[in-house]
């Protein structure tokens, strides 16, 4: 083809060796910083490397040496989601400190795709994996674990596999938040959640029940609604609940997407129902409605997981551990009501 113009081959160590007038092995030594090479030769080799623009081929390198691709994999649900983006950012930061590349893949909450991606990453011989599980059976990873690929599960536990896990205190956070609502005298609390198939949602709902049951609040199915996917859904559900003869005096939304919809509807109606939301969000203080959020440090979550992973990669073979990170209740919003500036 006429389009091959300028299509040269990449320089290899052999080219560098020829250029520098040394042996292949000497180049290898210089490139890998092996000591006991004459300073003069080192210089000649480095000069040749620079002139030819040589870069070591990591495929060949990791093929030969068996290990250490200087790459870790991160499997999340969806990169575009700010929660996962924050996780990816924090993981990337830690990886950078270890001179390691980060491969990010999105499962899109599809267990089959999750499996495919994880196996693909393992086939690429990543040095380790951080996984936010989508499916609920990860026993297919056992072979990889036994082959020595360390992995840390993040935000949700693995299914059918004993492994390192870093979680939020979903249940405790929800319990504390709802307890506050109860302490404030609320007895009819609307609860909105995405899906009970998700571990975090189940935990949060359990936490709410932990707080409601001892307070003697009866269980009212009409006040717990799952399948709330987006803010529009949420607004509709809130509207329905408020139109009932005995409307809730408070709402607990189990994630921030739902919280946004709830705020919108409450604000639109000029309601004064209390609102508790799991997850903080960055424009929370601009929101024209007072609310309490169950906040946590997403970066810390990812950082803890990534650092644990690197400890494993570094050779820590101790028993798998589960780390649970705390949450915190924070008052937010109501800037529309002339809240002052935060310090």
């Amino acid at each position: 083809m006429a389009s091959d113009v300028g299509r040269t081959k990449r320089p290899t160590m052999v080219d560098v060796a020829t250029r520098a007038g040394v042996s292949l092995k000497t180049v290898s030594r210089v490139v890998n910083n092996v000591p006991h090479v004459q300073p003069e030769l080192v210089e000649r080799v480095l000069a040749a490397v620079a002139e030819l623009g040589f870069r070591r081929n990591p495929s060949a390198s990791s093929l030969r040496s068996g290990q250490a691709t200087a790459t870790i994999g991160l499997l999340i649900e969806e990169i575009a989601n700010p929660f996962y983006a924050t996780i990816a950012g924090a993981a990337a930061e830690v990886a950078r400190l270890h001179d390691t590349m980060l491969i990010i893949a999105s499962s899109e909450e599809d267990p089959a795709r999750e499996r495919q991606l994880l196996q693909d990453m393992c086939a690429r011989r990543v040095d380790g994996l951080i996984v936010v599980p989508a499916g609920d059976d990860h026993s297919f990873l056992r072979a990889e674990v036994e082959l020595g690929t360390p992995m840390v599960f993040l935000d949700r536990p693995a299914g059918g596999l004993i492994a390192d896990t870093v979680l939020l205190d979903n249940r405790g956070g929800a319990r504390a938040g709802v307890r506050r609502l109860v302490d404030d005298g609320h007895r009819r609390i609307g609860v909105l959640l995405d899906s009970l198939n998700v571990y975090t949602m189940r935990e949060r709902l359990d936490g709410a029940q932990d707080a409601l049951a001892p307070a003697g609040v009866p269980y009212d199915t009409r006040l717990v609604r799952d399948g709330v996917r987006d803010p529009v859904d949420a607004a509709r559900v809130v509207s329905e609940m408020l139109d009932r003869p005995d409307p809730p005096t408070a709402f607990f939304s189990l994630n921030n997407r739902i919280t946004l919809g709830v705020i919108e509807e409450l604000h639109r109606r000029g309601s004064d129902a209390a609102l508790l939301g799991f997850d903080d969000f960055d424009v929370a203080r601009l929101v024209p409605y007072p609310l309490t959020v169950i906040a946590y440090d997403t970066r810390e979550l990812a950082r803890a997981a990534t650092e644990l992973l690197f400890r494993r990669i570094g050779g820590d073979r101790s028993w798998p551990r589960t780390v649970v990170l705390p949450t915190e209740l924070v008052a937010r919003g109501a800037s529309a009501r002339r809240a002052g500036h935060a310090p």
Copy 2:
């Protein structure tokens, strides 16, 4: 060490061949779907693959076959930033359609780091690169381009390198937005921007001047402020400008981080200055202040770039092109003033 427990070697094609009682090459053929292999042998091989849990070693594969690591690289400034997260999500989606892995790396706006990461990705023999430039000299990539690694620059043009580029119509968008402010009678417009070192900021400011100059609006240095890094900065600058004897009647903020700060201050003061902001943001409609945003489709931006990249990977050797995507003026906010529900 006693810790080697369970540390088996990964199965190779040789193992599979032995197990299936065929030759190594036959396994290779089956694994690569080469036709003309006896159906019975195919079955035996596949059975052995499944039993042993064999996965092809991509290092060896791409080493031998020279190309096609089925991986593309994306270099952005910061994964945790929603703009880049959205880009990453869209790029990942397109990559998935092409059965390709996406490696994401963050330059953190550091040109040295950018260079390092790009060269690292090239060394890993990615099939192509998408780059949001941080530095302003990318001539060091020329060697890679000549070696046949396609690359597409996104959001900002490359420096010192002729290459495919996908941009927003920053200048046109700013021009249209500011023209509307001018048409509405505004003559004193406060302009807040991050840094003139950034290409997009320069373009947006140029667009503003395009609209102001013909309208005979004099240039007032005190109304253009750069170095506005975050919402707190922005709020302070707005406050200062409003305290002047002839305060601006409108503000133009050149990115959404700044916009948030401006909103907060305007709302806090109960000001009625008009507000125009570059970049839309997802909670915009919840915002308690009316504003116009210069919006665009971030996903489309990334999609266009990624698809162009895959066309190049597919063999398109036509002249490098520059794609400019349109922006759109959208009215937002003021939900605090009882705006109705969007349909």
